[in-house]
């Protein structure tokens, strides 16, 4: 379907598709198997200027927005949902800076991020605080013109590989949901360490690590926004980044559908290609319907955000839920269509199924997303005078 992308967005799509086909496709199985971080691909993406598609020209980006990011992530995820995360998760970690950073902080960090020279990670989750983000225990104590961080963050995507981290920690436990703040912490700061790389079911080419802060001292100038705004920063960040996760899911689903359809044309049983059987046709049609619907929703939300819409939490959550549920259903069906071959590691769909699962879990589980949607609906209904 024609989404009337601008010429620049068309270029982004073409470039991402070329990188995916020429550079990612030959190595995706190997990096998944070895759980290796795709530094070679990072370099290619950087040279292609894809790291800056959502960052302003004044900071070295190409001045696009969330939709541009979604297009790039979707195209890359079509070939590997794990490798695409080096970009998607960097964007997640960069949004706090874009939305709440001071001019000085933006000038200092964004150019290298836009150039793909430094990767970024966002750190909120802890062992006791997943869906219940308010339960975070990590602290940031003001001390003169520094903050001292203590605590542990869990399951941080790009953890250990990124050089820049946007971290949410409690500055004043007594103020509850207004007691957290967001900070920029650089890798190499004394007192900032990493745990082991997690061994995961899927997105294995993406690095997931624990972050450990032990009396880690950072300049007070690394505070993002104002003290107490930590959870606002997180919520606004997620509003902007959810389309990116959704785009990753759409990409994974599309890649799986392409494989399944192509296979169904070649595989002959009972004297015919299996795509001539209605049972298979109906499966493929349903997969295609869901993907197109998911893509439309993602693009609409992305366009709304880029158009300046601030009240987008509900729709942004919808896009994430629908796209990730779609990715899971489509990849499972793709494995089914490939039958025995779908179960074998030599064929790419089992990996796509393993990669799809996380999209239903991270950046807010789909259960939390539904809570967000419902509570928005309640607010809207409460506001109506009938």
């Amino acid at each position: 379907m024609n989404y009337f992308l601008t010429e620049e967005q068309q270029f982004i799509k073409e470039i991402a598709a070329t990188v995916a086909r020429e550079k990612i496709l030959p190595v995706r199985a190997e990096l998944d198997e070895a759980q290796e971080f795709p530094w070679e691909i990072v370099k290619v993406l950087a040279d292609s200027n894809l790291f800056g598609v959502y960052i302003g020209e004044e900071y070295g980006g190409t001045g696009g927005g969330v939709l541009d990011l979604c297009i790039a992530v979707e195209e890359l995820s079509r070939v590997c949902g794990g490798i695409s995360l080096c970009l998607a998760a960097t964007a997640l970690g960069t949004f706090p800076l874009l939305l709440f950073g001071s001019e000085e902080q933006k000038k200092k960090y964004l150019p290298a991020i836009a150039a793909g020279k430094r990767l970024v990670a966002f750190a909120l989750t802890e062992s006791g605080a997943g869906s219940d983000a308010g339960a975070i225990q990590a602290t940031a104590r003001k001390d003169g013109d520094s903050y001292v961080l203590n605590g542990t963050k869990q399951w941080i995507t790009n953890g250990g590989e990124a050089e820049i981290y946007t971290v949410v920690a409690m500055t004043d436990k007594s103020r509850g949901s207004r007691g957290a703040s967001a900070f920029i912490v650089e890798k190499g700061t004394p007192g900032f360490d990493f745990g082991k790389k997690e061994n995961k079911l899927g997105i294995r080419a993406s690095a997931t690590r624990e972050l450990v802060f032990q009396d880690c001292r950072i300049p007070a100038g690394n505070l993002l926004g104002r003290e107490g705004q930590g959870f606002i920063v997180a919520m606004k960040t997620f509003d902007a980044s959810r389309p990116g996760v959704a785009a990753q899911a759409v990409g994974i689903a599309q890649g799986a559908l392409d494989e399944a359809a192509s296979y169904a044309r070649q595989r002959e049983q009972f004297g015919k290609p299996i795509i001539s059987f209605q049972g298979v046709q109906f499966m493929l049609a349903d997969m295609a319907i869901k993907i197109e619907a998911a893509r439309s929703l993602v693009y609409a939300v992305a366009r709304a955000i880029d158009g300046g819409e601030k009240r987008i939490s509900k729709e942004s959550a919808m896009a994430k839920v629908f796209a990730s549920d779609t990715a899971m259903q489509v990849t499972v069906d793709a494995v089914q269509i490939l039958g025995g071959y779908g179960y074998m590691k030599e064929y790419p769909v089992e990996k796509m199924m393993r990669d799809a699962k996380i999209t239903q879990i991270y950046e807010g589980t789909n259960q939390i997303q539904r809570t967000i949607i419902a509570s928005q609906m309640v607010k809207e209904l409460a506001g109506k005078k009938d």
């Binding site: 030959p26 190595v27 190997e30 070649q266 595989r267 002959e268």
Partner: protein, 400 residues
């Protein structure tokens, strides 16, 4: 000027020609074919029309050749003073052409201290050998060889000149053709004198070997063609054959050259060069790793073959790029190509589908490679390949 004409009365707008055009130059408007700017006058659409509605109009009839040219000339190639086999193959083809077209078969040999080699050229069919010698011509250099050969051709006026499509040939012959302002067809797989017109019909593959084209050079002489090694057949040598050897003196100015060869380096002595190999054993993604390629090396050794690879294996770092067969690698035309664990993606096929015999070993019965294979084995290559190697060795010991 020529143009592609649509005979509107005959055109029904069926669109068969649209699919035949490699350049996307045709479209249908109001049920009539329109030709746009992309047309390169290649003529592929003309044959595709079931209604003869497309005509490639050239001005005038097929012209006849300028007079005064007669005979066939073979440009022999020597390296380090030894005539290369391709020259004998060319003499075999040249003899056939000379008999058909009329005139003598002449060989030209350029080098230093190569006169003794001239006898071999006569044994393989040359009526005359022209030898141009000088220390300065010992090793190939583009400018001097081209200048001298062009001069010899202008003096001798052969109707046809053929040479090897080798590394030297590719550097030398195009220069000569342009100096003479005549036509050249490279990598010919077929050379035939046309019955009615008496022109040389030069047949060669195009579009990566997906189609064959027959080329004519009617208005100019000589008609020049290069042929790859191992395409033509040498005649059986006749040591007693009589022939003339003529020394061609070269003037000092003819020997000058700006580019110089500082040294010639031989590489990987011992392993067969894949482009020349008669037999190639090739591995793809199914090989799984670099160590496993040793299995193929052993099979290759047993067969006297070269080892090749698909792009997957090269990209994965299991073998160097020099082994790569395919669209972005080498195009090969061996007598036997054995593809192990190669799926047969089109990008690989375009590099090897002209092989005489193709054997495919793959555990996926639906692998596209089986569509082009002469013989296919669906099985585990890690079982089949070692067995193959052992059986070859066993049969050789048993004297088969």
């Amino acid at each position: 000027m020529a143009r592609l004409e649509v005979v509107e009365e005959k055109c029904v707008g069926c669109g068969a020609c649209l699919k035949a055009c490699p350049y996307d130059a045709l479209s249908i408007e109001s049920s009539i074919v329109q030709v746009n700017d992309r047309c390169t006058l290649c003529g592929a659409c003309v044959d595709s029309c079931p209604y003869d509605a497309l005509v490639l109009r050239k001005d005038g009839a097929v012209p006849s050749a300028p007079p005064g040219y007669r005979g066939v000339m073979v440009v022999a190639e020597q390296k380090r003073g030894t005539v290369q086999n391709v020259s004998f193959e060319l003499l075999g083809a040249g003899r056939r052409l000379a008999e058909d077209a009329g005139g003598a078969l002449t060989a030209v040999l350029i080098g230093h201290d190569v006169a003794p080699q001239a006898r071999r050229l006569i044994a393989f069919g040359a009526d005359r050998v022209l030898v141009a010698q000088s220390k300065a011509l010992e090793g190939f250099n583009d400018e001097a060889y081209a200048r001298i050969l062009a001069r010899i051709i202008r003096e001798q006026k052969p109707e046809i000149v053929i040479a090897g499509a080798t590394c030297i040939g590719r550097a030398l012959i195009p220069r000569v053709a342009v100096e003479l302002g005549t036509g050249l067809t490279a990598d010919c797989t077929g050379l035939q004198i046309q019955e009615e017109t008496r022109h040389l019909a030069q047949t060669r593959p195009a579009f990566g070997g997906n189609i064959m084209a027959t080329i004519l050079c009617a208005r100019h002489r000589p008609q020049m063609a290069t042929v790859r090694p191992k395409v033509m057949k040498a005649s059986a040598p006749d040591e007693g054959r009589a022939g003339e050897i003529v020394e061609i003196p070269c003037a000092e100015e003819e020997l000058s050259t700006r580019a110089r060869v500082l040294k010639s380096v031989e590489e990987t002595a011992g392993t067969v060069n894949i482009a020349d190999a008669d037999v190639i054993v090739s591995g793809g993604r199914g090989m799984r790793g670099a160590e496993q390629f040793a299995l193929l090396s052993e099979l290759a050794k047993a067969l006297g073959a070269a080892v090749g690879a698909s792009r997957s294996a090269v990209d994965a770092g299991w073998v160097p790029y020099a082994y790569q067969v395919g669209q972005t690698g080498k195009t090969v035309q061996p007598k036997l190509y054995i593809a192990c664990g190669i799926s047969g993606a089109i990008q690989h096929l375009v590099g090897m589908q002209s092989a005489d015999t193709i054997v495919a070993i793959n555990k996926d019965p639906d692998a596209p490679i089986f569509k082009v294979a002469t013989f296919g084995i669906v099985g585990d290559l890690f079982e089949i390949v070692p067995r193959l190697t052992r059986e070859i060795q066993r049969r050789r010991k048993a004297g088969r």
